[in-house]
Symmetry: C2
Subunit: 405 residues, 2 copies
């Protein structure tokens, strides 16, 4: 019997919606003859999350009643806790309840799933933005996506046919909840803290993970593999940099690296709750919640994502928050510390802005050893330099009329 935390929902078991074997074959064949609806990368990655059971117990895209209650009360109509709408949108006027459709990823052309449409409805997008993102500011990257949604939502159960590009593109890192659970069980873990990552791991992230390693059975370094904002470091580079850190700076058997097929919403507190929901499905008893978790710009207070865990109903989530303050190296302390453990001032601490880090790396410069481990720096330097070379080749090519790939 597993000692891991039970999956989310009343059934307390994983409910993957991905078909397999003959069923998959038959449904894929059938899907080819169905009316096709194009879906965004966000909808597509949510389908993969449902496909692998990471969004257990969802059975498809939400109805209007579910959407409303999730926005207003962070619960599905059956009372199960859920903090963020998972919806499908279209501007197709002809689609109606009762239709069966094939859902096609607009980027890759892959048929991701079929849906049995149970309801066609429209929503108050501003209400969703206010409820989930706490803002309707058109600059907010999560709000942008919601406001750009076509005017109808389609609800209904889905059958997932594909995991998209993830299994191949992120081989060895992309994991299904059943896989991570198996790994944790084999390691004999019960108390597992997930570290949510969407950036390379510098020493401040290493420190977060190590605090958790000290007090838990192990840490799941769990990174986002879906789309990010422009200018962010691509997932493959991050994976390599994190693996170098794990291999050289952690004790074997204390951390596991994995990835999940989702995009950032930048919904701050609400997204932190969603991160906990699906980490529970992945077998994690805890989610590390640091400063400005899942935040962007100044939309959320630095600890709003920690505080929201105190406001949800008792027992709503089995995966608990492990709050950790802002971390850094303090020369006076003589090691890594946080605002809770370092009594010194700014001048004693090593704080580098993202701009300085990027500039240093792209120029091949070294980051201080107190900021980042050398193996990680090397991988990031190589990436930034390859970017520069691409830009140079492009510029040079354009000038001579001979554009190289």
């Amino acid at each position: 019997m597993s000692n891991l935390v039970a999956p989310h929902g009343k059934e307390e078991k994983l409910m993957p919606l991905l078909l397999e074997g003959d069923e998959l074959k038959a449904e894929t064949e059938k899907a080819k003859s169905l009316k096709q609806i194009k879906i965004t990368s966000k909808e597509s990655s949510n389908l993969v999350m449902m496909g692998i059971g990471a969004f257990t117990p969802l059975t498809g895209f939400m109805t209007k009643a579910d959407w409303q209650r999730v926005c207003d009360n962070m619960a599905l109509t059956d009372g199960i806790f859920w903090p963020v709408p998972v919806t499908l949108s279209t501007d197709d006027e002809e689609v109606k309840a009762g239709d069966e459709l094939a859902l096609v990823d607009d980027d890759t052309g892959t048929i991701m799933a079929t849906i049995q449409v149970s309801e066609k409805y429209s929503i108050d997008k501003e209400h969703e933005c206010k409820s989930v993102y706490t803002t309707t500011d058109a600059e907010h990257p999560g709000v942008v996506k919601v406001m750009a949604q076509p005017k109808y939502n389609l609800a209904g159960p889905v059958k997932v046919l594909s995991e998209g590009v993830y299994p191949e593109e992120f081989k060895g890192v992309y994991q299904r909840p059943a896989e991570s659970r198996k790994i944790f069980e084999d390691l004999g873990w019960t108390r597992v803290a997930a570290l949510q990552l969407r950036n390379p791991m510098h020493r401040s992230h290493e420190f977060l993970a190590k605090i958790a390693v000290e007090v838990m059975d192990g840490v799941y370094i769990h990174q986002l593999l879906g789309k990010l904002k422009a200018g962010d470091i691509p997932a493959d580079v991050r994976v390599k940099a994190i693996q170098a850190l794990v291999d050289n700076w952690f004790v074997e058997g204390t951390v596991v690296q994995g990835g999940f097929p989702m995009e950032m919403l930048y919904a701050g507190p609400r997204e932190a709750l969603l991160h906990a929901v699906f980490r529970q499905n992945y077998g994690c008893s805890h989610l590390i919640v640091g400063r400005d978790h899942a935040g962007v710009g100044d939309y959320y207070g630095p600890f709003d994502a920690q505080k929201i865990f105190d406001k949800i109903p008792e027992g709503a989530l089995k995966c608990q928050n492990l709050n950790i303050d802002w971390t850094f190296h303090c020369y006076k302390c003589g090691g890594m510390a946080s605002m809770r453990t370092c009594p010194h001032g700014k001048d004693d601490r090593l704080l580098l802005s993202g701009t300085i880090v990027r500039k240093t790396l792209s120029e091949g410069g070294e980051l201080p050893a107190e900021f980042s481990r050398p193996e990680v720096v090397k991988i990031l330097q190589d990436y930034y330099q390859s970017l520069d070379e691409k830009v140079e080749i492009k510029l040079h090519g354009a000038a001579t009329g001979d554009v190289k790939k």
Copy 2:
């Protein structure tokens, strides 16, 4: 209403046995006319623990049935969890059930309590030693005390009349459970980890405390004020050294220093459980359990005191163990680490034996900054040097026949 963990026992409230006001006055007056029984410093400190409610829900010294069940099943006859016998011994042949006695501290001559004797019985001391200390080795300092007990045990409810030397000798550090609870409540704490200390705090202990500060509301640096083994650093020096560390190296409001009036038993795992029982009474939700907690020599495996928490009945204790591995400074990691977070070897770590630490300090030498903070080193240097001076004065005095105090 308090958010702190409830006191131990069915009542879930502190049950201090110390009399106050007129009651105290009357009982003290009466005690003078009662037959007096001399008690050891261990018995005396256990009386103070009962007096201030730290041993809630005990109402006095244990009966034979309680003693037996505590030895065999770590429970009182009413089923309440209790890991270590709390008994009173005498070789007085005349005392009998029904007697009322005054209990007099043999070191200070103070009447500590009165007891209404309910039972006079003898015990199998070897059985107690095997059950509680896992050994009957005559070299074990806890076994020595049990084996040296006079042949009868006396059971019965006590009325405590004095807190002994503690309130005066350790003013500002000695605390009753009601006091620590008040402090934690005023700080708004719920999750409080106790750090058990019987030595000065070097950086390894600072690191233990800081790991807990990162993940809890606060840490109670809670040190033993009772008698230790010969050669240990006296409590007043420890208190000063710890205060210097707290003042200079912790963030205000994240730690509280306090002391408790007990002696070390060196009972390893069983004592760790007792430490958790009375920390619960002090308002702590967690007890930090490090390597060889409450151990001595090689009697216990380094993590036995952590493992025993998994073997007690569910719900027996509200105070949970916060296990942390062996900690040290690693030059390669560039900071403090533990066996769970440092993948490097012995040569990269700073490990000093107790002998080297004492030798360095008594010679006025500096300990490496990676081992101990300078403010702490200074206080310990002063102490060891004063010891040397005392020895010199004694030697000189003896030679001239003029022995100074």
